[in-house]
């Protein structure tokens, strides 16, 4: 396994602050959506932005576990910043990070491109829906769950692809 250098940790710090601030900003989107249409609409609108930590970190660092660490550290920073989600952010971050990490693991940690970023965002979707089903258990009827899962996967895939492309531009070089 490739060893993490201090530069990698510093880049993870950068990803954590950017995603932590975006995650915190996303709470505003969530609140507006929640006030207008309740938790279901709120989550569907804000999902994708909450999954960007993993593909961003992976496309910048390109080492095993970077996706997991990117999502988890972003969530930890978000926990330290004032918002109503508190420690649920960390629980979601860890679980979503594991799911996103799978997108890079299935390619044997050899590819770090836009496709992998897209998959990393998409993989986090069902996990977030599953956690929501626990958190908002009574609201999650099967048709709602299905729509919710589809929305989160699409939203995650779009933002995952976008941040992977950004990561590639910033870091430069090929997908490998």
């Amino acid at each position: 396994m490739k060893r993490y250098t201090v530069v990698d940790w510093a880049i993870l710090g950068l990803v954590a602050v950017v995603t932590g601030v975006i995650f915190t900003f996303t709470w505003n989107v969530y609140y507006i959506g929640k006030a207008l249409g309740g938790p279901v609409v709120a989550r569907a609108l804000s999902y994708g932005l909450w999954f960007i930590g993993a593909p961003l970190a992976a496309s910048l660092i390109r080492k095993p576990a970077s996706a997991f660490l990117g999502e988890t550290l972003g969530a930890l920073v978000e926990t330290f910043l004032p918002n109503a989600g508190g420690f649920t952010n960390l629980i979601y971050g860890i679980c979503q990070g594991i799911a996103s990490e799978a997108a890079y693991a299935i390619f044997g940690y050899r590819k770090w491109g836009v496709l992998q970023g897209l998959l990393a965002g998409a993989f986090a979707g069902p996990v977030a829906v599953a956690l929501d089903a626990i958190l908002f258990q009574s609201l999650a009827t099967p048709p709602v769950m299905l729509a919710w899962t589809a929305a989160s996967v699409i939203s995650g895939a779009i933002y995952g692809a976008i941040v992977s492309a950004i990561g590639r531009t910033v870091r430069g070089g090929s997908e490998k």
Binding site: L12, V21, F87
Partner: protein, 249 residues
């Protein structure tokens, strides 16, 4: 507010994380009320001065929760009739259970952020809870960057306005055009910070490990945590309904 002289941040971190997990899985309305309401009162009271807008936004969100409960779980016997609207037991139950859960989680969150200093918490996590030093370095660097990145963001927004674009990113394209320069600057900075830290012997730095500091304040916090776990267990196993028969059911 700093945390020197207050409760050990690591203990508050454990309290917040464990209690949130408990609230996350607890499905019993009475135990959720017994745990969530006191934490919410304390958390909102402590955070009110600094985070009143956030707390107000959180409370406004209850309107949405009511809408969802009415739309998705309005089943069972009628409880309330307001004109054409019939509110049924299912919607009331859902509103109460989820409302109590998210109130408790938010209360714990505001309690935590009001009482701890993030930098001291990270130090505590490293020394007392043995979090790897690389992770703590990344976290400390991230928190150090918040102000710097905010300044960078304002400059990017200023340039966007000068070019005739909207300053607040809304579409995915907006987000891309804001994030790319922000990350480019940050990436270059992180690269040099990493090199500088490496040259100063970061890898060789020994972390002085300390046992969890348990004074009387920490003992009270941990006792309260244990008590709330017991309440949640009793609630989930159905025992609380025997003790307090007049409930939401």
């Amino acid at each position: 507010m700093g945390c020197e002289g207050l409760v050990d941040p690591a203990v508050l971190f454990i309290y917040g994380l464990v209690l949130t997990l408990v609230l996350f899985i607890d499905r019993d309305a009475l135990s959720l009320a017994l745990i969530g309401v006191p934490n919410a009162i304390v958390g909102f009271a402590l955070g009110w001065r600094k985070y009143k807008v956030l707390i107000a936004l959180f409370l406004i969100g209850f309107a949405g929760l009511a809408i969802n409960a009415l739309l998705l779980t309005n089943v069972g016997p009628a409880v309330l009739v307001v004109g054409p609207l019939i509110v049924r037991a299912g919607a009331v139950n859902t509103f109460i259970t989820i409302g109590l859960r998210i109130t408790g989680i938010a209360g714990v969150a505001f309690l935590f952020v009001s009482l701890v200093d993030p930098a001291l918490t990270i130090r505590s996590l490293e020394r007392e809870l043995r979090l790897p030093k690389g992770v703590c370095f990344a976290l400390a660097y991230a928190l150090r960057l918040v102000d710097l990145m905010s300044k960078d963001l304002r400059e990017v927004q200023g340039v966007r306005v000068l070019r005739g674009y909207r300053s607040v990113p809304i579409t995915p394209t907006d987000i891309k055009s804001v994030l790319t320069p922000l990350l480019s600057v940050g990436y270059e900075r992180a690269l040099w910070v990493g090199i500088a830290a490496e040259l100063r012997g970061f890898r060789l730095r020994k972390v002085s490990k300390e046992p969890l500091r348990i004074g009387w304040k920490e003992a009270i916090v941990l006792t309260l945590l244990a008590l709330q776990i017991l309440i949640a267990l009793a609630g989930m196993l159905g025992y609380l309904w025997l003790v307090v028969p007049y409930t939401f059911h």
